[in-house]
Structures are given as C-alpha cells and as structure tokens.
Symmetry: C2
Subunit: 418 residues, 2 copies
C-alpha cells in the first residue's frame, strides 16, 4: 500500500548515488581572506619554519640554563645584565649571552645567541646591573623553538580539509597568502507544479507560495555552493525534460521539487529516466518523511528529486544532497550537535523506515527532556520552527517508550525562542 | 607567581562584561534572500493562513467522509466520479461534492466544496465513471487544513531567532518578502607589537607574521559580523590610545591582540583604562590558555584585550567575544557538537583554572577515544590543526585519569585528515 513497489533504504540509496557520481571539480586559487569554509584541494607544505627563530615566550631574562641549576628562593644566583632584547629586533643586534651573564628579554623577542633558556620575570629580582635568579630553568625553558609549530617542508594542512579560521591562522603564520581550493559547486533548483507562485507574487485562490526554493537556496549557500535558479515549470513532461537538459549544461548537481509521488502527474522521474544512462536510479526511499524522494544520474551528475513538501525537501537535502556535496569534494561531513535525554512520551515509528522525528529538547534538574512533536506533516514547516531537534530512528527500531534515553540532533539552541 | 595579582574566573568575567555592555543596535529590513544567519529583530506574525485553503495531501478521491465509514476491502462502497481537481485550480471552478459523489483529486489541489476527506488512490479502484472505495476515511483525512501550518495573526518566528533555511521556508510560505533584523555588528581588530608584519610582507629576522588578524577576521565573518581592520601599532601608549579612540567612533566591539601580559610593554590595558568609565574591568583570567586576556568597556562598548598568541586569541574570542555578540543581539549561542569518550592518558589540569585542552578524538569498536595532545603552547597553531576537539576542564577539577569518560567539543570531523 506504500504506492512505491520497491522502497530503497537510505544507506542503499546513498551507496547507489556515490557509485554513479562521476564529476571532477576544477581547482581555483583564492587569497587567504576568501578561503574560510572552502575545501582544500592540495596538501599545504610549510615553506618556512614557524616560528622563524627561537623566541622568548615570556618576559624575563635570557640565560645559559646551566648557570641556573642550583638557584632557589633561599639561594639565588646572581648574573650580570649585559643588554636588552625586544620584539622585532634582529638577533645579530643583540649581545651574546655567556656563562654568568643575562639579557633582559620581552615576550616575542629573539633569543640572543648563547642563551638557551628564559627565566620568568616573577622568578627574578633586578638590582642595578645585576639580576638575582630564584628558580632553575631547564634547557629551552620559556623558549619557542624555531620550527616547533610548523617545520619547513612538513605539511600544515591536508587536502580535503574544510578550512576553518584557525587553519587560516596557521597558513598566515607560514606567510602563505593563497591556497588552492575546489571551485564552488553550482546547484540548480527546479520547481515543478502548476499551483506554485514565487514569494511576493499575488496568489489566486488555489495557489501557494514556493517556500522550498528560498529554503533550498539558503541551504545551498550555507554549504558554500552557488544556487542556480532553474525557475518553475508546470506539470508537463516535455517542459520538465527540456529544462533539465539545459540544467545539465550549467549545473553540477540538480535539485527538483514537486511531481514525485507516484501519480498521473509524477513526471520528473520519467523525465530523468529519459535523459541518459543510468538515469533514474532510485525512487521511493524507506524513510519518513521524504518517502517519495528519488535520485538519478546523467553524465555523472546527480539529480535529486525532492518532494514538493518543504519538510520532506529539507530532510531530503540534509540526507542526500549534503552527502553528495561532501562526496564530490572528497571531504568529511561536519560534526553535528547531538544531545541525549529522556523521552517525555512514547514514540512509535514504522519498522523498515528511517524516521526523522521533529522534537523539542528542554532541560530540567535531572537532565535533558526530549519531546517528540505531535505536528508531523511533511507540509508543515511549523514542525521545524517549533522544534529544536531531530530524533533519527533507525530502520530496525519500532520506537521508544516514555522515559527511554534517546539521542537527538540539536539544530537550534535549547533555550531559543520557539 | 602568576604575574596577575587577582585572576578573575571566566564566569565572573563574563558577568562583569554583560553588566557593563550598553549598546543598542539598529534594525534594518532585508529581503528573505539575504536574511540567513541574521538575528530577527521582531516577532513575525503571519499575515495569512498557511496553507491558504484546504488542500489534498495525496492523490486520490475527495469524498464526504461519512459515505466511507463502512468501506472495507471485502465490502467496498461505490461513488460516482463527478469531476477532477488539479493543483492550481480555483475551488470555485470545482464541482461540489455531495453524498454518493467523489472528485478525482491530485496532491496539492484545493478540496472541492462539500468534501471533507480524501481517500488515497491506492485504496480505490476506478471503473469508468464510478470509483470503489476500499477503506474508510475519517473526517479531514489526507487534507491539509487551511491555517494548520501557520494561522493568520499568530506568530511564525520570535525576536532573537537566528534565521535558518527552514525559517526562510516558513516565512516564504506566508508570502513574507522582507524581515527586520539587527544590523551586522562592526568588530574592529587592532594588532599591537613591534615585531608583527602582515601576510605577504617580507620578514626581517626577528619579525613574525600577524597570524591572529586573518584568523580573527574569519571568525568575525563566520559570526555574520563586519570585521574592521584597525591596523597594527607598535608598543607605544599614545599611539595605542589614539587608535582605540578612533576605533570607538566606528566599531561596536573592539578586539586587540598582543601587549597584554604584565610587563613593561603591556600598554593596551593602560590605554583602555585611560579612555573612560568603567575602563578596564578585568585583566588576567583564571583560564589556560588565554590567562592574560582582559576586557574593558568604554561608552558601553566592549574592548577585548586578547593575547598575541594565536591559540589564546582564538580561545579568548570563542569564550568572550562570541558571548558578547550573542548578548548584544539578544540571542542564544548555537549548540556545539560534543562527544563523550574514554581518555587515552592521564590529564592533569590546574585547580582554580578553566582549562581548554586540545585533543584528538578517534573511534574504535568500543566507542570514542579522546587523546589530549601533548602540544599545548598557546603560540602553537599546530595544536589546533592537529586536533579535532577541545576538552573543557572546569575550575574545580584536577584533571582525569586514563580511561575516565570525558566530554569534548568537536570542531572538526572525527575522520578528517589531520
């Protein structure tokens, strides 16, 4: 009675999609200021040592460590202060430190030749041209050694890394100004349906606003990809096919919405099947919501046939499109926040389906409470705006009892206004 | 011996910062296509019912529910098909359904007058102008009722919400084209230090690259705020003070890096103190790394005095600047991914300090393993690039033994290339 003769599991569908993707993405060089969130297309080998010279990590006195080994608060050792080292000075400008001598030094200053440790200011007492050392300093104590952060010729970052702000800091520290990243994927969004109007247009009775397009556009941008507006076509096989042909020329990935449940008007799967090999590879997934999701591949490019219902389209995107993007880029999915808590009521889910249940997580003195929302319609975006978490129930689980500990993916702060 | 006579706890420092912030952020109206990630500055009340009319959620037959109550597979009931309802049609164009009659209906089509349920196609059999119904349909079965998602006059989203793609979907469904959000905060970044050069510049011996600026710039952008480059000033009190005065005219938040440990050259705290009331409110925090962090407030605007060491600057940003941004916007921090696992070695941390320990999380058949890195220098960005998680050890904890279960914040995928 499902309407789909053969439902495919989520994992099997993902496997089939990955097996058939055949896209090579060009590489582009971008300045450091533009690379945040992009995917590195090369290993980055450090061209220099970082730090480039031995530096003092603290303020104090640069010494010969062996001089200080017997120092204590009751028995300080005395050294002659022969100069001063400031950040930004060249090591060659500084006096050489030999046994019995010390150089006053500031944080970040180069270590003078001959010195092999720095005693912190707090463990010293200055008296005129002399300094008393109250504590021993082991060799290289309080010194940032040349190359200890990144070593010339050794990798800083590896291909496939999604570049984060601290990666940019690391690249900058080695004076790297540009990196090679994969170009942004172009993801086309094609809406189908005769009742669909764009936001801002006036609605006749019987028409509804295309809420999926602005949502999917925002999702694509959030993934650092480029959304391509493929417009809306009515439920007409020829028109859908023509638009998809055009889309295959300009996009790397195509998303369609609408026209996917099995009925007289379900033309998108038919259009995809007609476009080439392997064509439609899956239609009807053992998941709730988003069962009518389909996927095809033409010229190695994936086409995702998402539901016209916005919540199904959202979950279809998160499960399938997101995975395809990561797979094409050769990168790993970002970790997602999860939370474990006690279910506040029984949750029944159909065996054989992967269920995505919108829930609201709250906190009390005993820990987290997870309440599955009663709003479940895949057309109801309020099931997302009133939720802050998603419980993913695996295919072999029939559901949970009230009080069971379950895990949920948090997509909003627990105490956000809902 | 800490060098800071009075260390303030992280929580106390945050409290003092919040108490003294006094900024009102203007509101701006942005189109839906530009609002992702922005903070909503108004409650959004639905101007319409969503859906705007009763719609069929499936393909099948629109009926009078009472007609179907006795239907079964062995004893189907027969109805006359009097027409057909397609998506996009106006309800007034459709035939009225009365007892004994049915209208063929497609997903998304308006429910004809008189009908109060839809029987799914799979539970029917069409024979010419008649249809057999094999299953009873309760009242409003398979119908998306007018206003069931969002009701005219009721809130869709509340002020303070960080706008996500599905929120955009929800706003679009109510045909809302623009929303009021807080303008992006301008966050100034001022580097201090005589040894600092910008990326791409040639380094003399003794000089290092300013790795904190590009990192902090990326962090500011990631928070949807506007970075303002306040340049680099040498270690000179007058120059630092002048630059901060200028910055207070154009920025909402100011970040400085460098010049913060307690030494002859630590001029930034002195400059902040001189600028107005309350001036410097905290300097020296009971945390590791980032102990020399300070904060001040002038004209109600926070000034964060971060370390010249990039890892300390990063953690100072994540702990203090991030909190200030959320506080000013009146929004809650985003949930962060966490993972629980077994510690692979003993971890000793100083009591009285909040410790931020870089770690690498891996997975084996028994679950997650968390290995604290031995690289700990606050100048070592490699301690971040080689880690994928941060263990936050609270002030009252002395550390953990090998095998203890601990929690870590995941900032990279577990299986990312490191």
């Amino acid at each position: 009675m499902s309407g789909f003769p053969d439902l495919t599991t989520v994992d099997k569908a993902l496997e089939k999609i990955r097996e058939n993707i055949n896209l090579s993405v060009e590489v582009e060089e971008v300045p450091l200021s533009e690379c945040s969130g992009r995917i590195l297309a090369e290993d980055i080998i450090s061209p220099v040592d970082v730090p480039p010279f031995d530096r003092s990590a603290v303020e104090g006195y640069a010494v010969v460590s062996a001089d200080t080994f017997s120092a204590s608060t009751t028995n300080p050792i005395e050294l002659s202060v022969i100069g001063r080292a400031e950040a930004g000075q060249e090591p060659s400008q500084l006096p050489e430190v030999t046994s019995g001598k010390a150089v006053e030094i500031f944080t970040g200053a180069p270590l003078p030749y001959g010195a092999d440790a720095v005693v912190m200011l707090e463990q010293t007492k200055r008296i005129g041209e002399k300094v008393l050392i109250y504590s021993p300093a082991a060799k290289w104590r309080n010194v940032s050694r040349q190359g200890e952060d990144f070593t010339k010729g050794k990798p800083i970052l590896l291909k496939g890394t999604r570049i984060k702000p601290w990666h940019i800091g690391a690249l900058a520290s080695a004076n790297i100004t540009k990196v090679k990243v994969y170009r942004k994927l172009k993801i086309g969004i094609l809406s189908t349906g005769s009742e669909i109007k764009e936001i801002g247009e006036e609605l006749r009775s019987g028409e509804i606003v295309n809420s999926s397009r602005p949502m999917l556009t925002a999702l694509v941008k959030e993934r650092n990809c480029i959304p391509v507006n493929l417009g809306t076509v009515e439920d007409n096989l020829e028109k859908i096919t023509e638009r998809l042909k055009l889309a295959l020329k300009i996009c790397d990935i195509i998303i369609t919405t609408g026209g996917t449940s099995l009925g007289e008007k379900d033309l998108v799967p038919e259009a995809v099947q007609s476009l080439g090999s392997p064509g439609l590879i899956v239609h009807g997934i053992a998941m709730r919501p988003a069962k009518p999701t389909g996927a095809g591949l033409v010229d190695g490019k994936p086409i995702f046939i998402l539901s016209g219902y916005p919540v199904s389209a959202l979950i279809g995107f998160e499960v399938f499109v997101d995975e395809a993007i990561n797979y094409i880029y050769g990168t790993r999915p970002e970790p997602r926040p999860r939370v474990k808590g006690k279910l506040t009521r029984k949750l029944a889910t159909p065996v054989g389906y992967r269920s995505f249940v919108r829930a609201r997580v709250t906190r009390d003195s005993s820990g987290y409470l997870i309440e599955p929302l009663r709003l479940t319609g895949s057309g109801l975006l309020s099931s997302m705006t009133k939720a802050n978490a998603l419980i993913v129930v695996e295919e072999n689980v029939e559901g949970f009892d009230e009080g069971d500990e379950v895990e949920a993916y948090l997509f909003q702060p627990i105490d956000a206004p809902l």
